[in-house]
Amino acid sequence: MLWLNRLIAGFSALISKRHKRAELNEELHAYLEAAVDEKMRTGISEAEAWRRARAEMGSLETVKSKVSAVGWDSWFESAVWDIRYGIRQLFRSPGFTAVAMLTLALGIGANTAVFTLVYGIVLKQLPIAHPEQLYRIGEGELYCCEWGGLQGTWGTFDYPFYKHLRDTDGSFDQIGAFSAGLRTFNTRLPESERTAQTIDGEYVSGNYFATLGLNAFRGRLISSFDDKENAPAVAVMGYWAWQHQYGRSVDHRIKVAGERTASSGRGNCTSRLLWSQVGTEPAGVVDSAKPGTSV
């Protein structure tokens, strides 16, 4: 409770500063007068008594400052004075102030930038169920995409090999796959007057979303049931594209036009067809639409 009393006393001293000062002043004068009375009782003159009493008291200002230094509020008060003094000094030399502020701003900005970078690259976890259980199969640094043709030692595999891995490997719960390289698809709302818009996407295996442990924001995601011969073609739209390009349309049936690529290894047999959007990915996963297909 001692600290509480000290706290309250500090606040009340701050609030009634002038009153407390006057009171202390009066009290010190009362002390002096009492001391003078006491000394005059020994028979010395009043003037001499005052002289001695003042000498014993020392400087009144010193005593006052010692008394006011007792509480935490004196620290607060001197901090306020220091800040006011500092601000005055800053206004007095605007050149220095500008340079100092610029230095601080740049320093803080640079630190923020570096941290943002480190956070994005090192600290931030992938927004999936178990990022620590996710592995990439393949070698090389540039593994995900095919930009203008295969190069070097990229870890890309053909679809039959993927199917072989998926069906025979026992060391992973799931092995999902996505196409090397982005495709452009044309998308439009059914019965819409607007022309189709192009949107980037890629082909993914039926278990792709299950492998990442994702759930649909709306509708459903592509599942392994879509990964069957003659299954209807389906697509999943990314959250960003759904929100920004389709105004959070509640209609599931956005039409996606693209090429159905035969994956059986029988060559480049393609046919134009329509996918139906079946769902929307959760927010924050990928910023581009991702029409998936069962092939």
Partner: protein, 108 residues
């Protein structure tokens, strides 16, 4: 050995509490009483007395109020609070332990 007038660190507040346990007093009365009771060994100067009074009052151990003195002047009289009474008891006990300990060391 402390010279005349020197107080052992931290004992002034205990002596003030003890003085006020007898009767309410103003600042000058306290300093005279301490001097008398110590047979003139301790001389409490205002520069130490008033900060100590302020501290004790802030902590709620004493309470000050203006009254008229025996010489028909106004004086700020300090009274011991219940908190102060308990604090005095505790400090006297702690002081006793310290004195005993120091005595034991010196006698060894």
């Amino acid at each position: 050995m402390p010279a005349k007038g020197d107080l052992v660190q931290g004992t002034l507040e205990m002596l003030i509490l003890k003085t006020l346990a007898l009767q309410p007093m103003h600042g000058f009365g306290i300093s005279v009483r301490i001097e008398q009771m110590s047979d003139g060994i301790f001389h409490v100067i205002p520069g130490s007395l008033f900060p100590a009074l302020n501290r004790l009052e802030r902590e709620g151990r004493i309470k000050g109020e203006w009254r008229s003195t025996e010489n028909n002047r106004r004086g700020r009289y300090y009274t011991l609070t219940d908190l102060g009474r308990r604090a005095l008891k505790e400090e006297v006990r702690a002081w006793g332990r310290q004195v005993e300990a120091v005595a034991r060391i010196l006698e060894a």
